[in-house]
Structures are given as structure tokens and as C-alpha cells.
Amino acid sequence: MVVVTGLGIFFIPEIRWQRWSYQIDEHEIDLQSGIFIVTRTLVPIKRVQHVDTRQGPILRSYDLADVTISTAATTHRIPALDEEVAGQVRDQISKFARLAEEDV
């Protein structure tokens, strides 16, 4: 039991972190995550309604921030990026989104 919990606390998050990847270009945002259940998500930039960075107290103490991407239908999160990187990602997406302006 202890072993399993220990594994869960010390190793799984790291593997999960390793398995998280994202890619952003001027046409789409591509997210992939998951150890066992692998999810790959594609969000066309045109569909992005707004991008947030958010930071709770824990994240702030480590200078990290989440990036949240909202479309008309869904919300996607890129968790715990470096504060600076998060800001860059947010600005980048919003810049791409402005270029690809279109209705809903």
C-alpha cells in the first residue's frame, strides 16, 4: 500500500510531466498528454476565443503558471509552465489568433 502510494506521489507526476507536450504554430495548437490514456488534442487557432494565464499560490511560489485556451465549445489547459514561457505562449497564441480572425 505504502509502496503504491509512494509510487503515486513520487514517480507518476514526473512521468505525467514527461508525457505532456504541446506545439503551437500559426494554424493550430496541438496538445498531447497521458500515460495510460493518451489524449491528443488539436485546436485550430481560428477557433481560439481567448487565452488566459492563471497562477494559484502554489504555482506562484515556484514562478509557474497555467495557460488556458478557450474556444466556443471547449477549454484546454497547459499546466504549470514557466511564468515567462506561459506569458510568451499566451501572447503568441493571441497574436496568431488575431491574424486568423474569423467569426465563431
Partner: protein, 496 residues
């Protein structure tokens, strides 16, 4: 142009009714529960008092509600305690609904509801104005091609296509309505409340007189039967009330749907707001060869889980004809279709097994004759098999078709450029078999809607995902960019 003005005074009454209707179930329950042990008179006073209060509230909120139209902008000032000023520009207005409820019809008025993509629409509801004013308001707010629109409308009067649901189809739709399940649970609750109304002696008396030789089993079977019958009647009646005199009118840029027996509802849906179309073959309708059409549109719809019924009942051969005439964009030739591979069959069967097993075990353990619940396995497994048979993805030039079944077989038709995001998901069991789930999200109402086909071949899922994303690039119309991007994509392609 509209000066700042109030609604017709009947709005007060309409508002009061709206509150009653919105909280109808709560009120009924309160009355049921509250009247226990009290005198009937007390309940009456209580109801009367509540309504009086609501009426006074309605009058005050009527007095405090003013609206005007200025340069294509609808301005509403409202709120009794908290003043709200609402400004809606016509560019952002997506749907204008004109409807007439019982109260409105009494005074020969209509209600106008203005909806935008995001805001909660109840905010911008003018609950009682005359029809002429409503029409004027509508033309003012559809200002983009104001004069033009009118001319076009007159021109196209003759080519305008109108589809109506005839009474035979209405009856079929009502008797096979999918609301049956919902009604069933409501009636179930109502039955559990019955004790409050009828005393036990009365029931026993009834049972002994009417069914003298009744054993325990026949009684249970009987009561189940009665509940089902009542639920069916409910769903029958509610469908008729809802879809009575259902008419779809195809205009130049929009669809006009009007329906309803007591309350005529009119929905205007611009074509460019349609996000996806669903063909639903409900469990009861499929054997008869019927289906219904549902459209998802951005910024419209709170009822019906963010989607709108485009047509409640169509015979299967007619469907594509209808789609072709009403929403021709969504009638594309399919160039490629992919079934679920046969290795997926066991996943479909097992899934239904896992879902049904707990129910069976609980029923088995808790109810006499619960052993018979094992017979539930047969329909469950059959359903699983049918789900496997039905699941399919297909594509045309710029259109994605996803066919899947939970209970009803649903075919979702999504335009590539309407997709909000898409997802390929794979768990370890699927990985071993080389399968993935494909999910596509489209905007619909406030939350959006997703369509998922389970356990399709991983390669195909990835192929579709790439196809969906490539479409975006081609859409922008520069091919060079698109190629260089493909080379550049260094993203680990573990989805395969």
C-alpha cells in the same frame, strides 16, 4: 428608430406566468409536501398569495423595464433593485425569437427574445409588445442589409420553401417520442408522492375490489404497466404540444422554424450559425424507418441541451432529400467511409457488460424475483453489438460524418471549418488492439457539443485528425506554408 419605452402592460402578467412556469415542478412539489396535514383552504390561500406577490413583482419589473433602439443598438434598462443596462449591437445579435405564449395571445401580443453568442439570453427578453413593433424591431436589428433584405424577401416569396409536419407524422412522432424515458422518471416520482394524496385504506380497498384474485406478482406487474402507460401518455401529449403545427421555412439566409400548440415559438436560425447537423434514429423510431433532424447552432438554445430540432420526423429515404433542399451545404458526397475494425467488437460488448452488470447485481440482491434481472444481459449485449455495427466515420470533401449509437443511432455531420477542436484518445487496452477514440467538438449554445466514435483504427483516427488539421491550412489558401509546416512538425507522434 425606437424611443425609450416600456413594454405593453400585459408584460407584468406574462412575467408572473414565466416565473410560475420556470419553477413549476418546485411549486408542485411544495404544494404536495406543504399541504400534508394542512387544510385545503390554507393551501389555496397560499397559492393565491404567492400569485398576488408575483403579480405585484411583475408590475414593478414592468415599470422598471425600458428599451430603445438606437443606431442599430438595442438598449435595455431593467432591474427592480439592481439596475442593469444592457446594450446589444446588431452585429453581435445572432438570433431573434418571436414567440407568443398564452398570456401574449390573450392580448394579441408577442414576446421577443434576443440572443447573442455568449450572454445568457433571458436578460434580453421583451416579454410583451405588439406584433408590428416586434417586426419593426426585428428589421431594425437585422440592419446589415436593411432595405435590401426586404426587397429580397419579397422577391423570394415565390421560391420560398416551406415544410410542414402533417398530422399523421405528428402522431407517429408523438407516440415514439424519446421523451418517454424522462416522462417515466417523472411519473415514478409522482407515484411515490401518491401516498400523500390517497390513504392506504383507499388503495387496499381499490385493490381488493377491482382485482380480487391479485397476487403480489400481478400487482407489481400491473403497477409497472400503469406507470409505463402514464409515462407514454405524458410523452405523447408533451410532444404534440411542442411540435404541433411544425413548420420550417427556408429563406435566403436563414431558417424559420415555428411550432407549438399553446405557445407558438418562432426561431430564426441564420445558415451561417449552423455548426453541425445530427440525424437521430431513436430506438422506437428506427424500426419504423423514421429519424429526426437536429441542428446545433452557435448562440442559440437553452432548452433541448443546446440544440434545436430542425424536423421532428422524417422517413429515412426522405432525409437526404430534405437536407439537400433545406441545408444543401450538409449534403455532401462521401468519398471515404471507415467502419470500426472487427477487433473492436469485444470492446463494445464488454463495455455494455460492465455497464449492465452493477445494475443487475443490485436488482438481484435487493428485489424478490431479482434473478430475472439477468435477462437484462440479452438486450445489453445486443445493444453493444448494434453499437459496434453502427459506429463509423466517413468524410466528403470538407465534411466529416460520425455515426455512433448510445441508445439512438446518431449521425453527426460536421463541416471541417466548423470544428472547434478534435481529440484522439487511446487507453492501454486500445493500444494493444491498435484502436483509438475520435472526438470532435463543435460550438453549440454556451457549452458546445462533442461527438465521439469509439474504437476506430488508430491509423484511421490519426489520418482523420491530420485531415481535419490540414483542412485548416488549405482553407487559408497558401499551400507553400502548409508544406513547410508539415516538415517542421517535430511533435512526437505517439498517437500511432
Amino acid at each position: 428608430m425606437f424611443e425609450l419605452q416600456r413594454q405593453h402592460p400585459a408584460a407584468a402578467l406574462a412575467n408572473a406566468f414565466d416565473i410560475v412556469r420556470a419553477n413549476f415542478i418546485t411549486i408542485v412539489i411544495l404544494i404536495f409536501v406543504g399541504s400534508g396535514g394542512q387544510e385545503a383552504n390554507f393551501t389555496l390561500y397560499w397559492i393565491f398569495g404567492t400569485f398576488l406577490f408575483l403579480l405585484i413583482w411583475g408590475v414593478i419589473s414592468w415599470y422598471r423595464f425600458q428599451f430603445s433602439v438606437n443606431e442599430g443598438e438595442l438598449r435595455i434598462e431593467r432591474g427592480v433593485f439592481v439596475r442593469k443596462k444592457l446594450y446589444l449591437t446588431s452585429d453581435r445579435i445572432q438570433v431573434i425569437d418571436i414567440s407568443a405564449g398564452v398570456v401574449q395571445r390573450l392580448f394579441g401580443l408577442v414576446a421577443v427574445e434576443v440572443k447573442t453568442a455568449g450572454s445568457s439570453s433571458k436578460q434580453a427578453k421583451i416579454s410583451a409588445i405588439s406584433r408590428e413593433k416586434a417586426e419593426k424591431l426585428k428589421t431594425l436589428l437585422r440592419n446589415k442589409s436593411n432595405g435590401l433584405d426586404e426587397r429580397q424577401m419579397k422577391e423570394s416569396v415565390e421560391q420560398r420553401k416551406v415544410y410542414a409536419l402533417d398530422s399523421k407524422d405528428l402522431l407517429i412522432a408523438a407516440s415514439t417520442s424519446g421523451r418517454f424515458g424522462v416522462a417515466l422518471s417523472v411519473v415514478g416520482v409522482a407515484f411515490s408522492q401518491m401516498e400523500q394524496l390517497i390513504s392506504e385504506e383507499q388503495i387496499i380497498y381499490f385493490v381488493e375490489r377491482v382485482i380480487p384474485q391479485s397476487t403480489n406478482t400481478t400487482m407489481i406487474v400491473m403497477s409497472i404497466f400503469v406507470v409505463i402507460a402514464i409515462a407514454w401518455l405524458f410523452s405523447f401529449a408533451s410532444t404534440i404540444v411542442k411540435y404541433y403545427d411544425f413548420v420550417v421555412e427556408v429563406r435566403k439566409n436563414e431558417l424559420l422554424i415555428s411550432r407549438g400548440l399553446f405557445e407558438r415559438t418562432q426561431l430564426t436560425i441564420p445558415f451561417n450559425r449552423i455548426q453541425a447537423v445530427q440525424i437521430k434514429e431513436e430506438l422506437l423510431r428506427q424500426p419504423l424507418g423514421y429519424a429526426s433532424l437536429v441542428i446545433e447552432s452557435a448562440g442559440y438554445g437553452e432548452s433541448e441541451g443546446n440544440s434545436t430540432t430542425l424536423f421532428p420526423l422524417l422517413a429515412k429515404p426522405q432525409i437526404y432529400n430534405f437536407v439537400d433542399e433545406v441545408i444543401p451545404d450538409y449534403n455532401t458526397e462521401i468519398s471515404e467511409s471507415n467502419d470500426v475494425p472487427s477487433v473492436a467488437l469485444r470492446r463494445y460488448l464488454l463495455r455494455m457488460l460492465w455497464i449492465s452488470l452493477p445494475v443487475i447485481l443490485i436488482v438481484w440482491g435487493s428485489i424478490p424475483y431479482g434473478v430475472y434481472s439477468w435477462f437484462l444481459l440479452i438486450p445489453a449485449v445486443l445493444l453493444g453489438y448494434q453499437q459496434y455495427r453502427d459506429a463509423e466515420v466517413a468524410r466528403g470533401e470538407d465534411t466529416l460524418l460520425m455515426t455512433f449509437r448510445l441508445l439512438s443511432k446518431t449521425t453527426a455531420i460536421v463541416k471541417k471549418y466548423r470544428m472547434q477542436s478534435c481529440q484522439v484518445q487511446q487507453n492501454p487496452f486500445q493500444k494493444r488492439l491498435g484502436l483509438s477514440n475520435l472526438t470532435v467538438h463543435v460550438a453549440s449554445g454556451n457549452q458546445g457539443r462533442s461527438f465521439t466514435v469509439r474504437d476506430i483504427d488508430s491509423a484511421i483516427a490519426t489520418d482523420y485528425r491530420l485531415w481535419l488539421s490540414n483542412g485548416r491550412k488549405n482553407n487559408l489558401g497558401d499551400d507553400t506554408n502548409h508544406k513547410s509546416l508539415d516538415e517542421n512538425s517535430d511533435h512526437p507522434d505517439d498517437g500511432k
